[in-house]
Symmetry: C2
Subunit: 429 residues, 2 copies
């Protein structure tokens, strides 16, 4: 039998339901893995094994609590939990205890999850890296800002984790660490208890080692019935390669991974085409920066005013200074462009008869070094457009590190995206 910590969430759930595994045994296996690996990976900002053990024991002794019964989960440290600290990746908030569960954590708990601990985030889910290393190569970044969530899931320390995405903070670390990362449609999951960064884009995202696993967590967080995404029985999904205006910024290995995936999908029965974005979409890169720079600094105004010396130079140079230069008129124009492109995108996919776009999840393999968490080049577009998107591991690059392709569906078509992703995962496996 597979070691418990290696089981995917859905598989572990089935083993627990069948009496072949207990919540306690699964938790202990995860804790052992963490004890063995945390020195090298540093995925956790806070762990409470005692509370997790008590919870697992209670679940083992009680009735079935729901779709996550007995599954350990890691929670990015900008998402509040009632019984743990939330430090937001900043020394300013050392030891801060919010005392309340965020919307997604409350839903996960209600569905039987064991909240194992808080995972490392970059400072305020922005740029300055935390201590986490890529579990596949300690000299490389795990990506950011949901660094610890991606690393812990990839390293078999926990089967499920929550992250957040404002640009590419779920999809990119998932690609760098070789796991599945899913950002639902903007607005589907509650943001209550998530430290606000950029209200226009902040979205809770989900990480696991398989599509069925993120679908399980998604159903639990939305409190909708879980339907295994493979059950849709998809035969010929309509997939379009979308190179975006940034294709030249992707490494040759990434080009090859997208092409190989497209060929494999076509061989497996998909209708594969291409979709080029109209020229107006090129303005979204600047629009995304404009909105983020306008919105983010105001949400850290308290820290800047009362503990500015503890805010990183990265955040000041990357957000606060540019934010000070954005005018209200520029902000409004950026919001208007986003709105127009969202409507245009709906129409384009409809006209072209496309279910899902295929595009890179990141420019290439995880960069060497820990200071730079990589670029959201291939992510900000879909976040800006409020579209659901998902990273699917797709082989390795020249350095042997994971590459990811990204699948993107129309707004609100999250269930369709998960169904195609389950199909695509089986094809690429």
């Amino acid at each position: 039998m597979t070691a418990p910590e290696r089981l995917g969430a859905a598989e572990a759930r089935r083993a627990i339901a069948a009496g072949r595994l207990t919540a306690t045994a699964l938790l202990e296996a995860c804790l052992e893995r963490i004890a063995a690996r945390d020195g090298a990976v540093a995925a956790w900002a806070f762990l409470d094994p005692g509370a997790a053990r008590a919870r697992a024991r209670a679940l083992d002794a009680g009735p079935d609590r729901g779709p996550l019964h007995g599954l350990p989960i890691g929670v990015k440290d900008i998402i509040d939990t009632h019984d743990q600290p939330a430090e937001y990746g900043s020394a300013i908030h050392a030891g801060h205890r919010p005392g309340r569960d965020s919307a997604s954590v409350a839903s996960a708990r209600a569905a039987g999850a064991v909240v194992l601990g808080k995972t490392v985030t970059t400072e305020f889910a922005n740029r300055r890296a935390g201590a986490t290393r890529n579990p596949l190569d300690a000299a490389r970044t795990p990506g950011g800002s949901s660094s610890g969530s991606a690393a812990a899931v990839a390293d078999f320390q926990v089967p499920l984790a929550l992250g957040t995405q404002t640009g590419g903070s779920v999809l990119r670390p998932a690609a760098y660490c070789g796991v599945v990362g899913f950002k639902p449609s903007f607005g589907h999951l509650g943001n209550g208890g998530v430290r606000a960064n950029t209200e226009a884009f902040d979205t809770v995202g989900l990480m696991a080692r398989g599509v069925e696993d993120v679908a399980l967590l998604h159903a639990a967080c939305l409190e909708i019935p879980f339907v295994p995404p493979g059950a849709a029985g998809i035969a010929a999904p309509r997939i379009a390669i979308c190179r975006t205006p940034h294709w030249d910024e992707a490494a040759p290995g990434t080009h090859a991974a997208v092409t190989a995936a497209a060929l494999a999908f076509a061989r497996a029965g998909a209708v594969v085409g291409e979709l080029d974005l109209p020229p107006c979409f090129a303005g979204l890169r600047a629009a995304h920066e404009t909105v983020c720079s306008f919105e983010a600094p105001r949400n850290y105004a308290d820290e800047l005013a009362r503990a500015g010396h503890l805010v990183s130079a990265d955040f000041l140079a990357g957000r606060v200074v540019p934010g000070g230069a954005v005018t209200l008129g520029e902000f409004r124009a950026a919001l208007r462009l986003g709105r127009a492109c969202r409507a245009r995108m709906d129409a384009l996919m409809e006209e072209h008869g496309v279910d899902v776009l295929l595009t890179p999840a990141a420019p290439g393999e995880a960069p060497r070094g820990l200071a730079d968490t990589g670029a959201a080049t291939f992510n900000y577009l879909w976040t800006h457009l409020h579209m659901p998107c998902l990273t699917l591991p797709a082989g390795t690059g020249p350095a042997g590190m994971p590459l990811g392709v990204q699948l993107v569906a129309r707004r609100h078509e999250d269930a369709a995206l998960l169904a195609v992703a389950a199909w695509a995962e089986a094809v690429l496996r």
Copy 2:
């Protein structure tokens, strides 16, 4: 000279700048008024006179800090401040201290405001009323959910206050108490540090006793230069009466107030017409309920799970039970309708050449009794459509209580709305 506590914010600001008034003298006048009146009005959830006095002294001794230098402000108790409790209108959070300023409070402080205290909110900014009474008739509601903010401003206890609106929680209490209430375009002010209720609609709103005063606070919160809205020199604004599908739900006095305002505007040079909403807008009432019922309960899932016995029966029956019956498909359909109507509204106002809509701010005078804070019948539409809107006091009804008319501009046309509102205020005065 007018007693300091009776001065509007802009007027007080000018007096302080000219050396005719000090922050300390203004604060003491407000504190005296509160001491005399709080027993009857009960607008405050928390007051810290000591901290406010220290702040006022520091401002008096230092250089000019900005557009709100020395002006006291009240903050609705679902908006966090770093040095005061935030109880969200719920016994569950008695004594809770968030330890951090919300985005709008941080901006107001940076502009020189004296944060006087926290104002009473209904439970979780939903329906269950707090202790506040209408300062003009203690047997009537001040409206909700920003009850204390409206009452304190109307009663000359503070010149400025912050509230929030998800349906009509700023505009309606402003109408009932006879003050100006302004809800900016969705997304213009930061929601960081505001207890999330319904992410799709929550908007920080501003209250004062005059249009220039809310414009001053608006500029400070947005950190944009303050331009007095009267300086635009408007001569012939294009105003359209919008009766909405709910005209029959307004009292005759409200019909008369809207008509009288329209006639006065026309006599003063406005181009006054009418704008009827297309039939599809009738679906927005149900759509608004659907989105709110879907989103709100998840943001209080922690309270419901861990302290459900302290959640009111009102909240359970009004939000949690209906929320449990909303499907994801219905939620998506409601979001789609809102999006379509927003685009349609932009086009309609463009086609008809309308700057500002004129519509009731509330169905009528403040209802008798304290349990029912009134209905958002004439507010939810504009909140749903993300449009900036403003309550302007417009005479009194049959019981001698204030009536308000509402002015509504296109999304992002906040400056134009304030300019027309300043013009309209002068006409109605």
